[in-house]
């Protein structure tokens, strides 16, 4: 940025000689012939580095001009050097400094002194500019940090909320399980007790019982059997209601985020086995999926991948577009499987589950659930496996197509 200097003098010759004295130093000059002129220029042209102001001018002298200049907030920072023909009288100098002068130069001026004084203020101005720029930069960085901090806080809050919701869901589920247990153990046990006692008595030695007693016992048996049937129906109704709660609710999801969320819980498992768990799913793939089912699918598949991969191996997730679908791959460097195991993987002919490389147990239900959930999305599952080299399981779910 060039150093802009305003020269104010009512005498053209003086203006010219100041310019000549300073011209080698690469300054940009603006000239004013009166205080009024100087003010007009200052208001139109920003960023002056220095004002050289003649004291003795008609109508408005240098002191008055300086006073008017410094009334403007924007102009207060500009240093003023007074050019004076007066002798350096103490009183005059004091008046000058009060008006805002930073220095005095006597007329006729010594060119050398003028140059060096102006050079000092030009340098000062440059340094100030630099400082201001750095301050602006720091402020920008600070603003970024504040924003980043806010974003982090927001994410923590969102995460906390999600966890709290999940917790509530789980608690509700637990509560209904408790209720189920209590119904099963108490409400079913009572009629069964009556039923068993009556039928036991009847079958023990019926010849000792009076016809009336036989009638009474049979009635109890009939009544309690009906009660049991009612309760069985209630339990079935209740179970149906529970399973309806896990209905299919597809929503628009960013696949990479949904998967990353599912992986959170499994990271400790992977770390424990020193398995490198990587999510390479492209950020731009969006899907229509039930978030709970997607989580269940990913967690089941990745859990399996970790289970059948020896220590130090890797499990990689990736995805690509495939027509209207997104195809997600879970690839491990594990022990692989034989063609026979592969064919029976999703048909529950053998519910026994193979144990993992660290003898992790399994229920054999995980893959059944996965294939159910994928089917509900209208997707397909495929398995590729090489014994001893690894397995890749892929599944498809509806994608939100990019062509918009």
């Amino acid at each position: 940025m060039p150093v802009k200097i305003l020269l104010v003098d009512d005498n053209e010759n003086n203006l010219l000689s100041m310019e000549v004295a300073l011209e080698k130093a690469n300054y940009t000059f603006f000239r004013a012939n009166s205080g009024r002129d100087a003010l007009r220029l200052l208001l139109h042209e920003p960023d002056f580095s220095l004002i050289l102001l003649d004291v003795k001018m008609p109508i408005m002298d240098g002191y008055e001009t300086a006073e008017l200049i410094y009334q403007r907030d924007k102009l207060k920072q500009i240093p003023i050097i007074f050019i004076t023909a007066h002798d350096y009288e103490e009183a005059a100098m004091f008046k000058g400094y009060q008006a805002g002068a930073v220095d005095f130069i006597r007329k006729p001026f010594n060119a050398e002194i003028l140059r060096s004084k102006v050079a000092i203020f030009a340098e000062l101005y440059k340094k100030n500019q630099l400082l201001r720029k750095q301050e602006e930069k720091l402020q920008a960085i600070n603003a970024d940090l504040v924003q980043l901090n806010q974003e982090l806080e927001q994410r923590v809050a969102e995460r906390t909320l999600a966890l709290e919701n999940l917790n509530q869901e789980l608690q509700a589920l637990n509560l209904s399980k408790d209720k189920f247990l209590s119904v099963m153990s108490h409400d079913l046990r009572n009629p069964l007790t009556a039923l068993l006692a009556s039928s036991g008595k009847l079958s023990e030695n019926p010849e000792n019982l009076s016809p009336n007693q036989v009638k009474q016992l049979s009635q109890i048996i009939h009544r309690t059997s009906n009660k049991l049937l009612d309760q069985l129906n209630e339990v079935i109704e209740w179970a149906k209601k529970q399973s309806r709660k896990t209905s299919f609710n597809p929503e628009k999801l960013r696949l990479a985020d949904g998967v990353e969320e599912s992986l959170e819980l499994l990271k400790p498992n992977a770390q424990q086995k020193k398995i490198n768990l990587q999510n390479h799913i492209p950020k731009d793939i969006e899907v229509m999926a039930d978030s709970l089912m997607l989580r269940s699918i990913v967690q089941n598949l990745v859990t399996n991948a970790i289970k059948y991969t020896p220590e130090g191996g890797s499990v990689r997730l990736n995805a690509k577009w495939e027509a209207q679908m997104a195809c997600i791959f879970v690839e491990d460097s594990g022990i692989g499987m034989t063609a026979d195991v592969k064919t029976h993987l999703f048909t529950n002919t053998d519910p026994r589950s193979l144990s993992g490389t660290n003898n992790e147990p399994g229920s054999g239900l995980g893959l059944l659930l996965v294939s159910d959930f994928v089917a509900q999305h209208g997707g397909k599952i495929a398995v590729e496996s090489t014994l001893g080299a690894g397995t890749t399981i892929s599944f498809t779910i509806p994608a939100i197509t990019m062509d918009k």
Binding site: R189, N190, K201
Partner: protein, 122 residues
Amino acid sequence: MKSGKILILDDDNDILEILSLLLSEHGYEIRTLNHGETTFENIQDFQPDLILMDVMLAGMDGRTICKSIKENPLTCSLPVILISGTHDLVESLHRPGAPDDFIAKPFDIDLLYSKIDEYLVA
């Protein structure tokens, strides 16, 4: 044939009926109650030799009733057998105010007879 009077408390009328049938056939005199609210009036009136009581009594806990029977000087020597389907009562047997014995639901008829006989013969 045995002899003795048994007060049975259970909120399930089917259980009351079958117990009443089984035990009266075995020789005992029976009175049944399907709630716990008038237990003490019935003890005074009926003067039972033993109380057979379910833990769950519509709105009341059999263990609480048992405790008040055991803490009352007039009734503390009256044997109480608790019947329960859900509560494991073995560990509560030796606490103050505990029942004398318990029977799990569903019960075996012969075990029921032998437990009751044990308290009424003595």
